[in-house]
Chain length 497, copies 2
């Protein structure tokens, strides 16, 4: 992997002087075309060893390209707002929108490599991180992000020479202390881990370019040429290639039975019983939210369901149980302009709560495999790969300590008809029923199929779906509250350990 | 001010039971109308004494209205990302967009009142804060935000009774300790400061509603009725009232002389001198940015100027001097959908940098008094009041320790013509010159007038404009760099003290 970068590369001054202006102009042209067309975002990852010219490269790119449409972020110590959210949140919030170029100076690759090289991560843990990184980068490239990953390398000899040169110069001597030599002693260890990581995360869509950083001119021309080629490839693409290819088919329905039809939708409780149990469950949820351990936890609850299944009413009962300062909701509607300029999941990531908070998603990322699938708003390849992307996303949430509950509120076709009619008759509910609702209803079977596939593919051990029989609103609300309270209680127990 | 709230108010159960359902329905209807029409945002401020039902009120509003379109924020300890930015940043970032309701549980009023009551603020400082608050709230209401400010009061007797009642009940005894009684001892002090603050910040457009909080039913009905009236007033408005009225005229130009015409636009330096001085100035700026004190500072530089005046080139020379990780820029174009749903300045506030960073605004908030004024995109009342709003905004920046530099790059009409023609001739510059540039050029005099008025009204001691003679690009760039370096140096000196 590092073989080519182990060779001494050099570019003489004359060659550089000849090539640099053309390269620079071509890069600038590509950048402006990227900006004008705004079809995709470009994200450059910078990795590699100390002293191999990472910082110099970033500064050079700022000089070559128009810095007004380029943004560099270095990821050192996370802020407290970042610490309280899943690990990937800090990267998501800095992703460049379509048309722009982002440079990440150190990114998601830094921590696993350092962790393994310093012995804080086991080999197995490293491999788990590698899988995560690969899945994440695949999602990015599938979503159209042009990912250019540059790894800067120095041979052991070059590194030693560099440190000695710095030491022998009065002006730079301060830059080399015992720490730098200690790091050098671990060169082989770091090199081995890096090589493993770089190899394992070099995929067809997002390979690492390993560049020897010893010679500034060679380094500069190599970086420029690599970036230009990557940009031109994408900019000149006539018909953008579809990611995913032909997805394998979903599980067929042979006997007409499925998880929705197996539900006893008419399960009910009386009003009296409801009142009594509601108060009890809300009290229980309230107490749980005021548990001192809750400060270390956050809760994300997803509500999906048939139109008129009573999502709003169930959500309100949850809100009633929690102090208003610690609960919020995200009503998911059409994405905004800024959201459309980002990968699909960006608009959900941005809302993730800090510790000590509940967040309700009223409809959610499942829109992609429900309405977008059924109505044809998303291509098959896009919603098919969404199952995996969603599972990865939810796994990020859960492993960061978020309690995740997902509810599908199910009513029968007859009950929906009754509720639609009732809404039409009630003056202050009329705005809740539109032509679109009637149109959606005609596709009942398609939606049912989509829901079953969704449950099939995204009900995981860590993030199971709760199917809620909702023909009777009382029953549905109680089941939601009880499920949520159980989940929070289990979350608190985990924190307590 | 607190007179009505000193009276014992009570609502009996029967009255409450009769009125509450109607009120609730009416509030819900108003909320849905607000959401559907999305013409303005509603922001409810909650203030007042401990135990007067602030939290209960917020929870009640969550119950009465649809909590999915309502969001409550409590402002306790700021996060580190907030601490590193101007005081008001944390409030700006939580402002509700048009169509939504936001509740701020404690807001910009909390700190001044507590500060004064505990002796940390002098009377003079308090009055300065009051002026700031008034100007800020005026800006919000001028921008169309419906601001409903609720202050919850308890008489001294009621407060004492409340504490004693809590103390005498086994289950609530823990809620009253020495701290609570110590606070009670300062009742008069707090009451005096609060009364002063509430009176001083009660303006026509944003009065405080002082409500006695002792009786929950009275409190609830009063809050609901107040909020409903405020919402209905705005929702039922046939022709929205224009804020500002007839603004007083600007300073007339009698003799044809002005700050722009007084500039010697042709000031120049030779290429050789430029190269030498450029390196020196960039080196100086670089050293300043690496000064350890710079970690406590941030720099905001605004670039405005005639079309083709060389903003891009000047900005690039600044970028070259600074490590790419610590500098970014915001190219200001048309506002996005999310930005249009907020007060005008929101889209600039959101980008403010953390400490240790440079941020370049390539065009800026001055668009309102330049292009929006000249092209008629903003009404006269809107751009006229913008001068004051901008001064207030910049004063927030400067007093939070931000180094603010504002550059107007000025070229002559002839020089602009020459540059336009040159752009048209140079293939890779053609995209930089459009019909719009030629159209703007026809309004040269109008723009000149707008620039002079802008300088007149917004060149302040803390945030002066630097007019840059830019017919010669070399001269212009050097002047920008030297001015910026001086400003950063002065900023560092202030930190150092």
């Amino acid at each position: 992997m590092f073989d080519n970068a182990e060779i001494a590369h050099e570019v003489d001054k004359a060659t550089y002087k000849k090539k640099e202006p053309q390269l620079r102009q071509a890069l600038l042209d590509a950048q402006y075309q990227l900006l004008r067309e705004s079809k995709f975002a470009t994200l450059i990852l910078i990795g590699g060893v100390e002293g191999a010219g990472k910082g110099e490269t970033v500064n050079l790119l700022h000089e070559w390209m128009d810095p007004r449409h380029l943004r560099t972020y270095s990821f050192t110590a996370p802020s407290d707002e970042e610490i309280e959210r899943p690990y990937m949140w800090r990267f998501w919030r800095k992703l460049p929108p379509r048309g722009k170029v982002g440079i990440f100076f150190g990114a998601w690759h830094t921590q696993p490599i350092v962790g393994r090289a310093t012995g804080h991560l086991s080999r197995g843990e490293l491999d788990a991180r590698i899988s995560e990184v690969k899945r994440f980068e695949k999602m990015l490239t599938d979503e159209g992000v042009l990912l250019v990953k540059l790894w800067f390398h120095l041979t052991k000899k070059q590194q030693k020479k560099r440190l000695e040169a710095l030491e022998s110069d009065k002006r730079t001597r301060w830059r080399v202390g015992p720490q730098e030599w200690a790091l050098f002693k671990r060169y082989d260890k770091f090199s081995k881990v890096s090589e493993h990581f770089v190899r394992a995360t070099s995929t067809g869509a997002a390979p690492w370019y390993v560049i020897n950083g010893a010679d500034p001119r060679y380094r500069a021309l190599t970086v420029g040429t690599t970036l230009l080629a990557a940009l031109r490839d994408r900019l000149d693409e006539k018909t953008p290639s579809k990611p995913g290819g032909n997805p394998p088919p979903l599980l067929p329905s042979v006997d007409g039975r499925n998880v929705l039809r197996a539900l006893k939708l008419d399960r009910k409780v009386s009003e009296k019983e409801y009142e009594k149990k509601l108060e009890k469950l809300q009290g229980r949820l309230n107490l749980l939210s005021r548990d001192p351990r809750f400060k270390k936890l956050s809760v994300v609850a997803v509500f999906e369901g048939n139109d008129a299944a009573g999502k709003g009413g169930a959500v309100r009962r949850v809100f009633q149980a929690i102090d208003a300062r610690f609960i919020g909701s995200v009503p998911v509607a059409a994405p905004t302009e800024e959201e459309r300029a980002q990968p699909y999941l960006w608009r959900f990531w941005r809302h993730l709560p800090r510790k000590g908070h509940f967040l309700i998603f009223d409809r959610s990322w499942y829109g992609r495999v429900l309405v977008e699938r059924v109505e044809g708003f998303a291509e098959e390849s896009a919603w098919m790969r969404a199952y995996q992307e969603i599972n990865d996303f939810e796994s990020d949430l859960v492993s960061s300590g978020i309690v995740l509950s997902k509810f599908w509120l199910a009513i029968s076709k007859e009950e929906q008809f009754r509720r639609f009619k009732e809404r039409e008759k009630t003056p202050h509910k009329q705005f809740k029923i539109t032509e679109e609702d009637w149109r959606n209803r005609k596709k009942w079977d398609d939606y049912e199929r989509a829901v079953c596939d969704m449950v099939d593919r995204t009900s995981t051990h860590d993030a199971p779906w709760t199917l809620v029989e909702a023909n009777n609103k009382y029953f549905a609300r109680l089941k939601v509250l009880a499920t949520l309270a159980d989940a929070v209680e289990q979350g608190l127990d985990r924190v307590g350990k």
